[in-house]
Each structure stands twice: as structure tokens, then as C-alpha cells.
Symmetry: C2
Subunit: 365 residues, 2 copies
């Protein structure tokens, strides 16, 4: 005999017991999450007008839970769920407004929700400048902007803007990125041209050389523009997100064509202040130097002497001013850590120009 | 004296106590959610190959928690969090694949996540036909497609497809929809043309008549196409989502211009089977009738006699077959409820054509 759902009676009894336990867990979850939200309200009242979102506090909570995660959920899933719960609790007091590089549906929007959960006002901006501007004018509390990709390097406009802006870096988000090759009809045969944003083309160059050695690569302003052109040209294909295929009526020729499986984009979270120490932090700074032999070594020496490790180092021609190059450095530790603070003071005494862009919790891998 | 974060010591002590309690809650939440995921695995093993996603079971859990919600979180937030937790637990066993009307970032994608949470494979399809096809060919487990808007009515293509498809309706999703008016530069002055998808124009017709009585309204294939044109025509504006403004470099002239503040789109969830009874269900059916006086009344009489209320009634010219009109009916109750079952049997004996499209849990308002 089977019940309504077509299940045998012994299995039904087992399912019934399991579901009763799940129901009881759900009741407790609701009670605890509700109490958590009420406590978050009390925290908000105690802080009286101070900002509600504390990146260092949320980073500590996420790390503690990931480290004590017993399974079977992945650490990534545990992080996502607790960030959603924190997002909901925060929103009881105040809805955080986050500007990002639009449109909706892009990787940047994913980065917003990865960091802030879904109970935020996510504001799609037209370009990276507008994201900074939204926070500078108070229209948004935070901005989330791409700063570099693991394969093809820095997003120049973001680096230029952090130098000039009064905003501080208060967080970073790491997001895995996948590229899709698509065209109007057909497979790889007959593709004579591949469109894509310069960054997308760079992320897929080995794949393209191997599979489409004779196809011309054309860098366009955005992958959307590439898709628009590919839709009109039977011999062309474009790189982009799978979502673009649906939008422009293209078929997917090959998925995940990025050269590095670990292709990741790093985003910065910018706000009026940086973050307090969380126990595992990074500090970003930019230094100006003349184009003289040894100038860079002299500036970096204090970090080496203090035993501070650098995770990024990026040089960039200065747009203005008396120095010729700007050096962007990301080092481990918080600017309030004694060792780093001393090294930064020493660099300050040596550099023509030093700006500490902010200290913030290191993102989970 | 203030501490590092600029907070007074007495407040610091209070915050410390609140945060200690939050930490303890978070530890318990992690333990419970992990146990819940392990139980979901056991349910999956007990069911041995049966489908993991049970819309009626999830609907019951959501309703129970919304009804017992003590606050301060809203019922909507409680629903969202528990759906995310269920989504994560489900994904431990099997990742549900859901086809939807792309591109990513649209209202349809929001409807997918509202119903299934974020731990799903959301597949962006080019049109509504492709959504059905994805499930029919086994490329997706479910499809989420728009079926009607509270202001401007039915999505004809979806109605046509449910009649012909072997798929059943196993769920519905209600999503509030907001329309934005945008143009290249400036405010309402000088707008001589308003682009928009026919549905968007319909949803905003009173607003447009009041604020732009002399502007021509031009129906285009999509709001994206409207945005593309508005970007090129200084005297034109377009309707669409705020996200489109960023994508096409338009400025927002007015937000929330839909005539009804409660403007809502209803989506159907389609799968291989409909849902088992959840305690608060709807049943969708379609009937064929000749264009004869009294034919419709005769078909609907059994529902009235059984005291079954109808929440929707929609007539549509038949594309083929011997009947001339199709009548789409949504009534309260599950097709396995004795009263409704008897009424449906009676309709079946009277109708030239009757197809029960499925029974499914009624969505939260």
C-alpha cells in the first residue's frame, strides 16, 4: 500500500518523524532569529545614531561560524545564511543603501548581496564614478566597485578614484567569475570574430588561441555591446555572462571559457570610514614616488623591516602632481596594529605622498 | 573617555552584553541549521529518488512560521529567511534547476529566488516557450513564468502554452512590480514620446494621462528596446525598471509611476507534477466551449453549486480545435478535496474540453 504521495507506510513513518523534528527546529530558529533582531534593535538604540553596519563585527561572526561549522552545509553556505540573517536584523533598525556598478543582474550586484545580504537598497549606478559620488553626496551609505580580476589585473578607474576620493575602504568581496562564448546560431565552426570587453578577452586569451586561433578579437565598450553585435553578425561570437545570451537571443557555444578556473574579481566596499580591527585585516595604501633608482625599495623597506607581508603591489602612472608613479599596496594587518602603525609612520616620513586608503576585514577565500 | 570606536564606557558594557547574547544565539542557529540540513539528507535518502522539492511542504512551513512570528521581523522577512534555509538544506541533497524568462536581473529572476531561495541553478531563457521546453526536455526541474499582472491582465503566451504542455502548475509566486519613467536628460518638460512594453504602458496609463497628456505612447518589444531608443532621442522617455536607467545612461524622471501601488505580477511554477494538498490551495483549469448562449454558465454551475469560489476567470479565443473559446479558471481548494473533486467530475461530463492544469499552495499575499 502507498499513501497519497506514493510512499510505503514504513517510509512514511520515518519521514513523519524526521519532519516533526524539522518542524521543531524551525520553531526554535524563528524564536532565536526574532530574539536576535530584537537585540540588534537594542544595539542600535545604545549606539544612538552611530552607524549600524560594522564590517569588522560581521566579519568576526562569519569567521567564527565558518570555523565551527560541523557540516553538512558548506562554509560558503553558512556564510551566506548568517549574512542574510544579519542583513534582516540590521534592516529592522535601518536599511543600508549600497551603490554599485549597474545594471542589475551583473557581478557587481552579486558582490553587494554577498557582503550585505538581500535586505538592502541596492542602487544601480551608470559607472564607477557615480558609485563614488553616491556615497560622497550621502545618497548611499556604501559603494561596491570592482578593483581587480585575478587574471587580467587592476580596474584603473577605481584606483584613480580612491586616490582622489575622501571615502575609505571598509571591506573587500571576492567573487568567482565565469565567461561564456555565444553566437547567433551554431558552434565554433565559422566564427571569424570574437567581441568582448577588454577584460573578458584578456581572461579568455589562451582558450581563444587554442580553439579559435584565426578569429579576430575585437574589444568593445561592454559585453552587452558585444552581444548586440554578435546578434547581427552570423560570423561573430561574443564573450559575456550566460544571462546576456538570453537577452540578445544568442546560443551558448561554450561555457566557462575563462583561462583560470579560479578566475575571481575582487571588489572594494567604500564608506565614510574604514573598519575597526577584526583580528584578520588588510590595509590598502597608495604612495607617490619619483622615477628614481631605489625610490620604491626605500618606500617599501619599512614594511619588510617590520615583517609585514604585502599581498598586492601595483604601480600606475600618476595623473597629476609632482610624483611620477603611484604605488598601490595591500598589506596584511590593521593600520592600528602596533607593528604596521610604526611601519606606516616610517613610510610617511620618507614618501613624497602617502594616503592610507583604509583597513578592513580580509574576505573569506 | 571613549573606546576605540568612540563609544562611552557604560554604553560599551551594554553593547558587550548584547553582543555576547547575539554570539550565543548565532552558535545555536548554526547548530540547528546544520542539524536541519542533516535531517533533510535523511529525508532525501528515505525518499530514494523521489523529488526533493515539495511545494506543499515548504508552503506549510512558511505559513506556520509567518503565523507564529513574534516580530520584530516582518512576515515577509521571516518567509525569505526560512526559504533560504530550506534552499540551502535542499541543495545538500540536490541542486534544483529552475528555468525563467531571462535575462538575469529581471522580475522573473526575483520570482525564482522568492520561491526557491538562492541555492538553485537559475537558467535564463530567451522566451516563455524556452522555459517550458527546458522542463519538458529535462534540462530544468521547474520553470517560473509570468502569467498575469494585477493592472493589465493576462500574459497570453503563457496561457496558450499551459494548454498544450504536458507540464502541471505546482506553485504560484506574487511579486510587487514598480515602473520608472526615465530619459536621457531633464525632467517631464519636453517629453513628446514615451516608449515601453505594452504591459508597462498599460500599467501606467493614468499616470501618463495626468502628467504627460500630449506625449505619444509607443509600444516596443521590450523596455530594454525603449531604453535604447530613449537614449538616442532627447524628446523621448521610456518606462522600465530602475536598473535599465543605469544600463542605458538615462536619468530617472519619476519613480513608481504605476497606477496601482499594489501593482503585482503573478508567476506560475511549472513542473512534471502538481503539488499535494497543503491546506490552503488553488486549482487552475481550462475549459473549451462553443460560442453558444448559456454555455459558460452551464460549465461554471457545478463550481457554484459546490460552494467553490473562483479567484480568476479569463476567456481567450482558442487557437485550434472544435471549441471557439477557452476559459481559464482559478478556484480555491485542491483537486483532491472532495467538494472540488465532485464539481470537477461534473464539469468534465459537461465540457467539450477540460484540462486540470494543477493544484498548488496559495502564495502569501
Amino acid at each position: 500500500m502507498k499513501d497519497q504521495a506514493g510512499t510505503r507506510p514504513d517510509v512514511s513513518a520515518e519521514l513523519g518523524a524526521l519532519r516533526a523534528r524539522i518542524d521543531s527546529i524551525d520553531d526554535t530558529l524563528l524564536a532565536l532569529i526574532s530574539e536576535r533582531a530584537a537585540l540588534a534593535q537594542q544595539v542600535g538604540h545604545a549606539k544612538q545614531g552611530e552607524r549600524i553596519y560594522r564590517p569588522e563585527r560581521e566579519a568576526q561572526i562569519v569567521r567564527r561560524l565558518r570555523e565551527s561549522n560541523p557540516g553538512p552545509l558548506s562554509g560558503e553556505t553558512v556564510e551566506r545564511l548568517i549574512r542574510e540573517i544579519m542583513s534582516a536584523c540590521r534592516a529592522v533598525e535601518e536599511v543600508t543603501r549600497v551603490a554599485y556598478l549597474g545594471p542589475a543582474g551583473t557581478f557587481s550586484e552579486q558582490a553587494v548581496h554577498k557582503q550585505f545580504g538581500h535586505e538592502v537598497d541596492a542602487l544601480a549606478e551608470a559607472d564607477i564614478d557615480a558609485c563614488f559620488h553616491a556615497v560622497e553626496t550621502g545618497r548611499a551609505d556604501f559603494a561596491v566597485v570592482p578593483v581587480e580580476n585575478s587574471t587580467d589585473g587592476a580596474v584603473g578607474r577605481t584606483l584613480d578614484l580612491v586616490v582622489a576620493s575622501p571615502l575609505s575602504i571598509c571591506g573587500e568581496v571576492m567573487l568567482p567569475i565565469h565567461q561564456t562564448l555565444m553566437r547567433k546560431h551554431g558552434d565554433l565552426d565559422g566564427i571569424r570574430r570574437v567581441y568582448g570587453h577588454a577584460q573578458s578577452l584578456a581572461q579568455c586569451q589562451h582558450w581563444l588561441s587554442r580553439h579559435l586561433p584565426d578569429a579576430e578579437r575585437v574589444s568593445v565598450v561592454s559585453n552587452s555591446e558585444g552581444a548586440r553585435r554578435a546578434a547581427a553578425e552570423p560570423v561573430a561570437a561574443t564573450l559575456g555572462s550566460e544571462a546576456a545570451a538570453a537577452l540578445y537571443g544568442l546560443s551558448v557555444v561554450a561555457a566557462r571559457v575563462e583561462d583560470e578556473a579560479s578566475n575571481t574579481t575582487r571588489f572594494l566596499v567604500l564608506g565614510a570610514h574604514d573598519a575597526a580591527p577584526s583580528g584578520r585585516d588588510k590595509t590598502s595604501l597608495v604612495m607617490g614616488a619619483k622615477n628614481q633608482p631605489g625610490a620604491v625599495v626605500k618606500l617599501l623597506q619599512p614594511l619588510a623591516d617590520a615583517g609585514v607581508s604585502m599581498s598586492k603591489f601595483e604601480s600606475r602612472p600618476a595623473r597629476s602632481g609632482t610624483w611620477e608613479y603611484l604605488f598601490f599596496v595591500v598589506c596584511e594587518g590593521h593600520r592600528k596594529d602596533a607593528r604596521l602603525a610604526a611601519a606606516l609612520a616610517e613610510i610617511d616620513s620618507r614618501a613624497a605622498f602617502l594616503k592610507i586608503l583604509g583597513s578592513y576585514p580580509a574576505a573569506s577565500a
